[in-house]
């Protein structure tokens, strides 16, 4: 049932841009597709499958966003996926692309993402208009930060997590970003700096929150025969899992976990590996609390022990589970659906090409996305 040896990532590209005023996000996608195909040694004519999601503020799409971007690129793909699991979407789409390649539905699939959330001043706080479920929460002024803050508040109350422990996640990501010339912020950061930054939605401070950028990235997936002739050594997509939680915050339960508890074990089982086998993890870090909940929900530590796990130094490059070696969304890059960068940095680590902190000869990486308001997750296991 596993995917071992059937699907490879052969191209990866992250735009070095962090601000792109005057640029349409579809053009940023074109830059990323070009970059990923050049990395693979393939051309746009080889692509028969295309995946993106571009309907959020700052992403440029309106209706049928996957088709809109394909049109902009000038391609007519025979396999499409626009699954919207928020920031986890690129990981969901990579998993679906892998299934398509393994079953012969597609040969070369590009998963691409870009947004101009900085220059476009994207508003992530105003809910979509319309009737139905949003009507019961939209009138109350829930912001994106506040949605995550609900989980942080309950985690602190019930399990004793401290603001200092959350801040350590941001401090580690900033330390990793120092080496990355493209990172949005590279200056050293302390726990005191995080706690002294303004509260955006209690208990989360500004520096508990990811950066907001204009940027994008893309990867190219294909099967083993074509992978053998690509420019670089293939990185194998070994396992995949995804899961939907809730969209409206009144439907979340419990507020101290994510559905990583579902997507993680499924991805590991498909890959035939355990958490102990992993050399590092690229974990979606929209907010510091996102990382803490994810570490616990994936099972790297027990529920309620995420704070102590972070304090132990486990997340540092020399620790038992180095994370976000490019600086993550907290310091390097977060235009919107950051999941694409977890995959790109996973590929770069396995190739020895990280622009941030390159680990010594990693063989197995977990990439994990969390989308929406802790709404959905996707987990991908990569190996070389």
């Amino acid at each position: 049932m596993g995917l071992s040896g059937q699907v490879a990532i052969v191209g990866a590209y992250e735009s070095p841009r962090r601000k792109a005023p005057g640029m349409h996000p579809f053009e940023l996608q074109a830059e990323c597709v070009r970059g990923a195909l050049e990395d693979a040694g393939l051309s746009l004519a080889d692509v028969d499958g295309f995946c993106t999601a571009a309907g959020f503020p700052g992403e440029g799409g309106a209706w049928m966003d996957t088709c809109e971007v394909a049109e902009w690129l000038g391609i007519h793909p025979a396999f499409l996926d626009g699954t919207d699991t928020g920031g986890a979407a690129p990981l969901s789409q990579a998993g679906h692309a892998a299934a398509a390649i393994a079953t012969g539905l597609a040969d070369v699939v590009v998963v691409s993402y870009a947004a101009c959330s900085y220059s476009g001043a994207a508003d992530f706080d105003t809910p979509p208009p319309g009737w139905g479920p949003y009507g019961y929460e939209a009138p109350y002024g829930l912001t994106t930060v506040a949605a995550y803050a609900l989980a942080a508040q309950r985690h602190m109350h019930e399990l004793g997590t401290t603001p200092e422990q959350l801040a350590l996640v941001a401090v580690q990501c900033r330390a990793n970003a120092a080496a990355n010339p493209d990172a949005r912020y590279r200056d050293p950061l302390t726990v005191e700096d995080v706690l002294a930054s303004p509260v955006i939605a209690s208990p989360l401070h500004r520096l508990d929150c990811c950066v907001v950028t204009d940027s994008g990235g893309a990867i190219v997936l294909t099967g083993p025969s074509r992978a053998a002739s690509c420019r670089k050594r293939p990185v194998w997509l070994l396992g995949f899992g995804e899961a939907a939680g809730q969209v409206q915050m009144s439907q979340m339960w419990p507020y101290t976990e994510t559905v990583a508890r579902v997507s993680g074990p499924r991805a590991l089982a498909m890959a035939g590996v355990t958490l102990d086998d992993l050399d590092c993890a690229q974990i979606y870090d929209s907010f510091t609390i996102t990382v803490l909940l994810t570490l616990e929900s994936l099972g790297f530590c027990e529920r309620g022990e995420g704070g102590a796990f972070v304090e132990s130094g486990a997340l540092a490059p020399a620790g038992s589970l180095p994370i976000n070696t490019d600086g993550g969304g907290l310091s390097s890059n977060h235009p919107g659906r950051r999941g694409i960068f977890t995959l790109i940095e996973g590929v770069r680590q396995l190739r020895g090409e990280s622009p941030g902190v390159q680990l010594a000869d990693p063989k197995l990486v977990l990439c994990h996305g969390t989308g929406g308001s802790l709404s959905a997750t996707a987990t991908v296991i990569l190996g070389i």
Partner: protein, 139 residues
């Protein structure tokens, strides 16, 4: 006030119309499954526990605990800019379901997880009344 009006519920279907018309009269409606007895919010035409159709409407007691909350200090939604700081909360009602609210008429520094609260109704535009939470009076 900011230029843009606040988002309001659209009473575009029977379920939401029933819920919001009751709220305008100061009544919080929940649904209870006729098959398994589970309470739920927000309203649907089926039970989300057992998928049995046509749950019955029941009036909530209007009492619960503030399960979690956040005091919003910054927003990119212009219709709420003039309101900061304000409290968004999730109330766990005595019947079980959880409800999104603003915590009103309660000093923000007194907010805490599991604080006992009562449901109150705050008038909004267009004849809408929003179920909200306020700290329960002692005794």
């Amino acid at each position: 006030m900011s230029g843009r009006p606040k988002p309001l519920p659209v009473l575009g279907d029977e379920l939401s119309r029933t819920y919001w018309e009751a709220a305008a009269e100061g009544r919080l409606l929940l649904q209870r499954c006729r098959a398994c007895g589970a309470y739920q919010h927000y309203p649907r035409g089926h039970c989300v526990r057992c998928f049995a159709p046509d749950p019955e409407w029941v009036e909530a007691a209007g009492s619960g605990r503030l399960h979690t909350f956040s005091i919003v200090q910054r927003t990119s939604d212009p219709s709420f800019e003039d309101d900061v700081p304000y409290a968004f909360g999730i109330v766990e009602l005595d019947e079980g379901p959880r409800l999104a609210v603003n915590v009103v008429d309660t000093p923000l520094e007194e907010l805490a997880c599991d604080l006992p609260v009562s449901i109150v109704f705050t008038p909004a535009a267009g004849g809408i009344a929003l179920p909200n939470a306020t700290r329960k009076e002692a005794g």
